[in-house]
Amino acid sequence: MDPIILFFVLGLGSGLLRSELRLPSAVYDFLSILLLLAIGLKGGIELAKQPFADLLPQMSAVLALGFLLPLVAYPVLRRVGRFKRADSASIAAHYGSVSVGTYAVAVAYLVNRQIYFEEHMPLLLVLLEIPAILVGIVLARGLSRQTKWGVVAHEVFLGKGIVLLMGGLLIGWIAGPAGTEAISPLFFDLFKGVLALFLLEMGILTAGQIGSLRRYGLFLLGFGMGMPVFSAVVGTALALLLGLSVGGTTMLAILAASASYIAVPAAMRISVPEANPTLSLAAALGVTFPFNVLLGIPLYHAMAVQAQAFWGG
C-alpha cells in the first residue's frame, strides 16, 4: 500500500483514539502552500509545452461540469435529505467543486504506477473550483440584488488556494521546465513527503468530523459516498468525449468526485452564512475525502480502464 495512504490512516487512527497528536496550524499552512504551489507549477510547466488553444474545449467542458454537478446535487439534498435551502445549496457547492488534497493523492497514485495523464490537469482543477461556488450562492439566494458579487468575487478569486494554484501555474508557464529546475528540490522532490505529512493532519481532521457525522445521520453518509461515484461517472463520460487518456480519464473522474473542504467552506461562510458549516464539512471531510482516498481512486481508475476499453478511441 502506498505509504502516503498509511499516513492518512495513522492520522485517522490517532484522531479516533484521541491522541494529542496535531500539526501546529502554521505547519499545516506551510504544507498546503507547498502543495498548492507545486501542483500549480507542475501544470504551468506542462502548459508551456503545448499550444494553449488546443485546451479550450477541455476548459469549457470542465466549466460546464462545475455548473452541472451542484445542480444535480441540490434537489437530492433538498428533497431526499430534507435539508434547509441554504444547507442544500452549500453542500451542493462543496460537491461541485474540487479537493486539492484528493487530487494530489491521485497524482501520487498514477505516478507510482507510471500511468501517463495529461499534465495540464492543474488548469482544469483551478477551473473546476469556481463555478460551483457561484451556483451555490444563487441556489441559496436566487439572483438577488442583495448579494454583494464584488465581495464574492474577491473571496473566490483571491482566496489563498486559487492565488497559489494560479500563481504557481503562471510562474511555471512563464519560467518553463529549465527555469524551474533550481526550485524543483523543494517543490517536486519533496512533494510526496510533504503530501504524507499533509495526509497525516487530514486524517486527524477527518477523525474530528466523526462526531458531527453521527449526529447528522445516515443520509450524509450515503450522500458522501454516492455523490462522488455519480460525479466520477459523469467525469469519466466527459473524459471519453474529450478524448483523454486512461490516466486523464481517471483524473477527470477524481476531480469531479472530490468535494472541496477549503475554498468552498470559506466562500460559503461569507456568502451564505446561514448554512451550517458543520454539515458540509462532516460530509466532505468526514466521508467523501477518506472514501475517495482509500477506495475511490482505485475504483475510478478501474472504471477509466473499462470505459476506455469499450468506448475509448
Binding site: L205, A266, R269, E274, P277, L281
Partner: protein
C-alpha cells in the same frame, strides 16, 4: 495622573470574519482594536484552531459606552445568528481618554 473610565468590548468569533469585522467596527467609530488567535467551545461546538475554518479570534476594542453599544448592536443584528460569536463588556480605566 487621573484615570478615566471607558469600555472594553471583547468579541470572540470565527477567524473567517476578521476582515469584515475590522471594516465594520472602524465604520462604527472604533479608534483601534487588538486581535489574538484563540480556540474555544460554545453553542456552535468545539472550534479548536487546527485550521482556518474552525479557528477563532478574540478582538478587543477600547471605546466609550456609545460606540461599544453601537458595535454590539450591529454585531448582534448581522452576525450573531449565523456565526459563532460571543460578546462581553468590561469597565476599564485608561490614562489617555482622548485616544479612545
Amino acid at each position: 495622573m487621573v484615570i478615566h473610565s471607558r469600555k472594553l468590548l471583547t468579541i470572540i468569533t470565527e477567524a473567517a470574519l476578521e476582515g469584515t469585522l475590522i471594516r465594520d467596527v472602524e465604520r462604527l467609530g472604533a479608534q483601534g482594536y487588538t486581535i489574538t488567535d484563540a480556540r474555544g467551545k460554545g453553542r456552535q461546538g468545539v472550534r479548536n484552531a487546527g485550521w482556518e475554518a474552525s479557528s477563532n479570534i478574540r478582538m478587543e476594542i477600547l471605546c466609550d459606552a456609545d460606540t461599544a453599544t453601537a458595535i454590539a448592536d450591529h454585531l448582534r443584528q448581522h452576525y450573531y445568528e449565523d456565526y459563532a460569536m460571543t460578546l462581553f463588556l468590561v469597565e476599564v480605566g485608561v490614562w489617555r481618554p482622548e485616544k479612545f
